[in-house]
Symmetry: C2
Subunit: 159 residues, 2 copies
DNA sequence: TGACAGTCACTGCCTAGGCAGGTATATTTC
DNA sequence: GAAATATACCTGCCTAGGCAGTGACTGTCA
């Protein structure tokens, strides 16, 4: 087990000065901006990801999507409900495995999905304004390492 | 206006390889772990922050909390409803300004709030396992710069 | 003083996700 | 082939937040 450095102490902890605060606020702020820029497409931040995953072929069922986004399957069911109601996704019961519902984008869904990367890429590049290539790599490296540390919790499970 | 580097391109964009993905996943994973560790206290990730802010004296009204967390005032109203229902917070209509409802922790609320920093600090330090002091500083610096870039969107408003 | 803008808390309606439980179907194991 | 196990999807109930609109109140300024 690696040594744990005391970057923070309970006695002097302040919400606003924490890394956790920064990470959450960054996610919150960007999410909100994505929502705003997706308004023209009639999409939300939660909806563009499954749309793009279906478009790019990485996922084809609700189970795929829930694994891919680390979301509850119930949440995904309802997310698909909303996408289906908007006429962007079709549900097709699989013939091979009758438990499975295959998801397909409608023509309109495909059209929207194709627009998504342009918006997202533009925004991410803007958020990284002023970053050098080295800083960009380092940022990803640090985020990745923090994520790996955090993920370890899930695996350990309750003692 | 600073130059914007094309770290990502729309044609080759993949959800899983994006910095945005890392930031969101990190926030999501840590949030879920906080929820788990707060179970004993009967708190959620959303609830420990207002509790601590009231405890430390940084906030004393719903408006304070909504500004502090960048949340909708409606969301805060309902968050306080839940904290009040748990017997952790009291609402006291202000005499000086009768629009204002002053918030106070109950005795039980104070007790819980005092436990919160221990849990949070332990978790954050664990997430930063393996980080050097330099990396820690750099991480905060990069997050801060990204956040400042992202915040600029809100200020600009629609064109 | 009386209109007006701003602030505070709240409400209804929406999207969104977690958890627990249920049903149908597949797969594995004996 | 029957029983146990796993998987896929769905549902109800919960917390949670955004947006728009409301009523009560305060401060300002003509």
């Amino acid at each position: 087990m690696t040594e744990i450095t005391e970057f923070y102490k309970a006695e002097t902890y302040r919400v606003e000065s924490s890394v956790g605060y920064l990470v959450n606020r960054l996610a919150q702020t960007v999410t909100r901006e994505v929502d705003r820029r997706m308004l023209d497409l009639g999409l939300t931040d939660a909806q563009w990801k499954p749309l793009l995953l279906l478009h790019q072929g990485g996922c084809s069922t609700a189970a795929d999507l829930s694994r891919s986004a680390c979301h509850d399957t119930g949440a995904v069911t309802r997310l698909i409900d909303r996408l289906e109601a908007k006429g962007l996704v079709k549900r097709l019961r699989s013939a091979e495995d009758r438990r499975v519902v295959n998801l397909e984008l409608t023509d309109e869904g495909e059209l929207l999905a194709a627009e998504v990367p342009k918006i997202i890429v533009k925004l991410v590049n803007e958020v990284l304004t002023g970053f050098s290539q080295d800083e960009f790599s380092l940022f990803k490296n640090l985020l990745n390492r923090a994520l790996i540390n955090a993920r370890a919790f899930n695996d350990e499970g309750p003692a």
